[in-house]
Amino acid sequence: MSVKTPSKLEKILDSGQLAVTSECGPPRGSDPKAITRKAEMIKDHVDAINITDNQTSVTRLCSLAACIHLKLMGLEPTLQMVVRDRNRIALQSDILGAASFDIHNILCLSGDHQTFGDCPQGQNVFDIDSMQLIQTVRHMRDEGKFLGGDEITRPPRMFVGAAANPFADPFEIRVPRLAKKVAAGVEFIQTQCIYNLDKFELWMKQARDRGLHEKVYILAGVTPFKSAGMAKYMKNRVPGMDVPDEVVKRMAGVPKEKQPEEGLTICVETIQRLKECEGVRGFHIMAIEWEEKVPEIVERSGLYPRPSA
């Protein structure tokens, strides 16, 4: 594969090295320092930084603006874009907005339903779905045209990503779904955070059997537990999350002050094991509200220093 965009993430993946990405959640206010401060903490330990898009439908500073702040710092942002809140006009428009600041990575997502967030009485859009958004970005980039057919002056040059959840139901179509996204034009995948390694490796094997690992860069998602309580919450209350009992037991078996350390260790062990998994081309570290630990995770996993590309 050769690179199609100026994306630093694409370049690193194309070179055969393991990539590392992480994410920042924007603030519930307009202070840009809330973003820049988090980015400062992790910038030397990751290749690109995702900015979430009103995650769990909680209204926050928009992903596009936060990505622009990162770009102005000289960093590499990944624009997360959900189809819950914008119709196809707004989606294309925001893509051009991002491209005007030379933002080169985009993650196409459905978005959590608005009943989870702070405006459960609001409308939702879902004009197009995440699969069709992947097609749209590729169309804008490769054909240089809007969905309506007109030419785009200075088309976006974006590296197109999407999410995959090997742990959601039904399991039997999770790899066909990956295949579908590949057919739609996705170029990199970030998975939901992994605790059930056996299941993940099974999903990877099925993906390899279909040759998908050679058509798309798969980045394994990891999230360190801060406490046994967090592990239990994620196990029981987060849809599409698979946390095996042994992992919860391991967290709970350690005294409260030692739990954060144990959580980080489990995270590092997961990365170490998955480095050996064929088809895993990097890691996406989601340390929600714990961004300061990302450097430690990257270093302990032997992924530091990052290539300069």
Binding site: R84, R88, S110, H113, I128, D129, A163, K180, P239
Partner: protein, 222 residues
């Protein structure tokens, strides 16, 4: 059919409390089947309102009638000779009937007695659920007879999303994941390979988004 639910009686009282003579008009079709606005429900609402206003010490005449439907001119015409004696009409028909009645009797106060909910089925007596959103371009041939637009909370045409858990939707354990249902049926029909076909962007112009809709059949117009 169209499924509706009775409005709380407090809301209805608020609407008509300043009138003296009110007619409650029911409908013999959909709202009868979903037990919200048929002859029975008209009787119950009338009795309840009479007792309420008696209790308030207010004189109020409440009459009852149930029409076959309220969405066709012929049936609404039946009210022509009697409607003017009333100060107000409470229609227990779905939103369609209430509006048609109001259009037809332009100078009559017309109030809705039910909340119109959706197009759906009777799963069992007392339980009705949504099946169709009237998108105007039926895709049931491609989704094994299960509609993702009305039954998927995110109306995904290429679902399921990552929140589908044990066959249920992420927003409620009581809601089936439409895409799980579609996949189960595709498997049953030995058509699971169709799952990987990417559904194209939907033309929503035939849906509500395109504006209020009309169907005209020149071949049957008089």
């Amino acid at each position: 059919m169209i499924v509706a639910e009775k409005k709380p009686i407090e809301e209805v009282i608020e609407m008509v409390k300043d009138f003296q003579k009110v007619l409650i008009v029911g409908c013999n079709e959909c709202v009868t089947v979903c037990e919200a606005g048929g002859k029975k429900e008209v009787g119950i609402l009338a009795s309840a309102l009479r007792m309420y206003f008696m209790n308030q010490g207010k004189k109020m005449d409440i009459d009852e009638i149930t029409l076959e439907r309220q969405c066709d001119h012929e049936y609404l015409e039946e009210l022509r000779n009697t409607i003017d004696q009333y100060d107000a009409v409470i229609s227990l028909a779905c939103g369609v009937g209430v509006q048609f009645l109001a259009e037809k009797y332009f100078s009559t106060h017309v109030y809705p007695g039910v909340n119109t909910c959706f197009m759906g089925v009777t799963e069992e007596r007392g339980v009705w659920s949504e099946r169709c959103q009237g998108c105007g371009q039926c895709i049931l041939d491609r989704t094994a007879g299960i509609c993702p637009i009305s039954r998927c909370a995110k109306r995904l045409l290429n679902g399921p999303c990552g929140g589908s858990t044990k066959g249920k939707c992420e927003i409620s354990k009581d809601l089936d994941c439409a895409w799980q249902l579609i996949i189960d049926r595709l498997r049953e029909l030995d058509r699971l390979d169709e799952y990987e076909r990417i559904a194209p962007l939907k033309d929503w112009s035939t849906e509500r988004a395109g504006g209020p809709r009309k169907v005209v059949r020149e071949d049957v117009r008089q």
